[in-house]
């Protein structure tokens, strides 16, 4: 861990119209870390990612990425700087083929030898995408689409990979596969910010975690310490996940 965090958020306020969604969020993500943001539905997890990625303009506060102030930047600009977001609900371009989806993910990159090499590398992680390379994204299964969404994020070689609910709507077997994949990505040294509703699984693999509730951070620290205090767990992680901790 270096002293300069990859991502540094301080006192972030975000609102949808007149409805305040985030009330002064502070967080940081360091090089090579896997940080997880957990909380119930509507706690503001996705809002944090959208604000970081430039989809939502913060009302106040600052976002620093790789030491640069990027508050209020456009999404395309942030992508160029090295952020990649795997959006909630996957958001595959349905009529575009897998190849074309990946090409948009690599927008701004020359399609040269290094691209081809990265693509081959991705195929070792996601062999199914090689099989489906010329099929329309909309025809893939949910799990395959999630693979594609992650691959589309990785193809730009991001310095920070953000994932919004990657396990949403997938079967338990596929959820296992996604989490194994995240561990693999982490072992390759990729810095990851993960938003998950499946808190138990997310906390199981995260280096650090932030617990969000009603747009505020209720807890931050190592997941092991968090799981020690049962009362917080049962309150914030929801019944089915928190109940059997």
């Amino acid at each position: 861990m270096t002293n300069n965090p990859v991502l540094e958020i301080s006192d972030l306020y975000v609102a949808y119209g007149s409805i305040q969604a985030l009330h002064g969020i502070c967080m940081e993500v360091h090089q090579g870390e896997l940080v997880s943001i957990c909380g119930v539905n509507g706690a503001g997890k996705s809002t944090v990612l959208k604000a970081i990625a430039g989809v939502l303009k913060p009302r106040s506060g600052s976002i620093r990425f790789k030491g640069k102030d990027v508050t209020g930047s456009k999404p395309e600009h942030l992508h160029k700087l090295g952020m990649a977001l795997v959006p909630e609900g996957r958001e595959i371009f349905p009529s575009l083929t897998v190849e074309e989806n990946l090409r948009i993910g690599a927008f701004g990159r020359r399609l040269d030898k290094s691209y081809a090499a990265d693509l081959e590398d991705l195929f070792t992680l996601f062999p199914i995408l090689k099989e489906r390379y010329h099929q329309a994204g909309g025809l893939l299964s949910g799990g395959e689409q999630q693979m594609l969404a992650i691959a589309r994020g990785l193809i730009s070689n991001p310095d920070l990979l953000m994932m919004d609910e990657p396990s949403l709507g997938l079967s338990p077997a596929l959820v296992d596969q996604i989490f194994e994949l995240i561990i693999e990505l982490k072992s390759r040294g990729i810095t990851i910010l993960l938003v998950e509703q499946n808190a138990q699984r997310a906390l199981g693999i995260a280096d650090r975690a932030y617990l969000l509730s009603n747009g505020k951070i209720e807890y931050s620290g190592r997941p092991q310490d968090l799981e020690g205090s049962v009362d917080i767990t049962s309150v914030y992680l929801g019944g089915q996940n928190g109940g059997d901790v």
Partner: protein
């Protein structure tokens, strides 16, 4: 019905349909990217037609140069109108965008009236355009075949661009999901500018063939192609590029069939019938013949 009549009918439908396909394609390019139903599109065509008129009547430039400059002026007006008028509204409501394009259309029309003339001007078009030629016993002006040929070439080029260049792939992605495309690094301004440039380019090509057919240009000439574009777009589906091409040909087919079958007393109501069909279409099948893969989302 003998073969010659059938062939004549086919040539009419194909030539009209080609022109209408180009018109509606120009509308859909902009609509697909920024959800704007561009009322000023007709005026893009008028601007190009005026440039054709001025260069043809007052200079001795060879016609290919005149045509190229005419198309270039369509590109310029498309690009500039987006920059000056529409960019400020990108994040506003749909109605604000619509009203703006309506206002831009009015401004351009009045400027033509004021700066040029309220009366129509004859556009000099090379003579071979209107030369009659005979194919398989059917006599037709050469421009009918030229528009078919031009459309085939342009559509092929567009398909290749949209399929095989990164910019084209990004345009298709952006028209399906603008926000996600931006998250992948696709710049919003570039996409919208390119959409308006392509729209203006098509308007320039349409201006050549439209004024070849009518022989003249006047301040309000954009209204008719605009309406045709609307209908064709609606029939084909607002979110699909191939759909808009299909819509153009279907429109030409319906219009020709109505012309042949309506009794002469009702012929003057043809447009009313056309638009009644459009309304029925919209009510019964709001997504059009070909449904694009558009997801409900506004440009941010």
């Amino acid at each position: 019905m003998n073969a010659e009549i059938l062939l004549e009918f086919a040539i009419n439908v194909l030539s009209m349909g080609s022109l209408y396909a180009l018109i509606s394609l120009g509308l859909v390019f902009v609509f697909g990217i920024c959800q704007l139903v561009n009322y000023a599109y007709g005026e893009f065509i008028t601007v190009s037609a005026y440039v054709l008129y001025f260069l043809g009547a007052f200079t001795s430039l060879p016609w290919p140069v005149v045509f190229l400059l005419g198309i270039a002026s369509g590109v310029a007006v498309g690009f500039l109108s987006e920059l000056v008028a529409f960019r400020a509204f990108r994040e506003r409501s749909l109605d604000a965008l619509l009203v703006t394009s309506f206002a831009v259309s009015v401004i351009l029309q009045r400027l033509f009236q004021l700066g040029i003339s309220p009366r129509s001007k004859a556009v000099p078009i090379p003579a071979f355009f209107n030369m009659n030629i005979q194919i398989l016993g059917v006599i037709t002006p050469l421009r009918n075949l030229l528009i078919i040929g031009t459309t085939v070439v342009l559509l092929t080029a567009l398909v290749l661009i949209m399929k095989y260049t990164t910019l084209g792939v990004a345009m298709r992605g952006a028209s399906e999901n603008f926000v996600t495309a931006r998250l992948m690094g696709v710049p919003a301004n570039l996409m919208i500018s390119v959409a308006f440039i392509i729209s203006g380019f098509l308007a320039g090509v349409v201006a050549i063939f439209w004024s070849a057919r009518t022989g003249s240009v006047e301040p309000m000439m954009g209204a008719t192609p605009l309406l045709i574009g609307f209908i064709a777009v609606v029939i084909g589906g607002m979110h699909s590029l191939p759909g808009s091409v299909v819509g153009g040909f279907v429109y030409a087919l319906i219009a020709n069939v109505l012309s042949l079958t309506l009794p002469s007393s009702l012929l003057s109501f043809r447009d009313a019938f056309m638009f009644a069909i459009v309304i029925a279409f919209l009510v019964l099948k709001p997504e059009g013949l070909l449904r694009g893969n558009y997801q409900e989302e506004r440009v941010g």
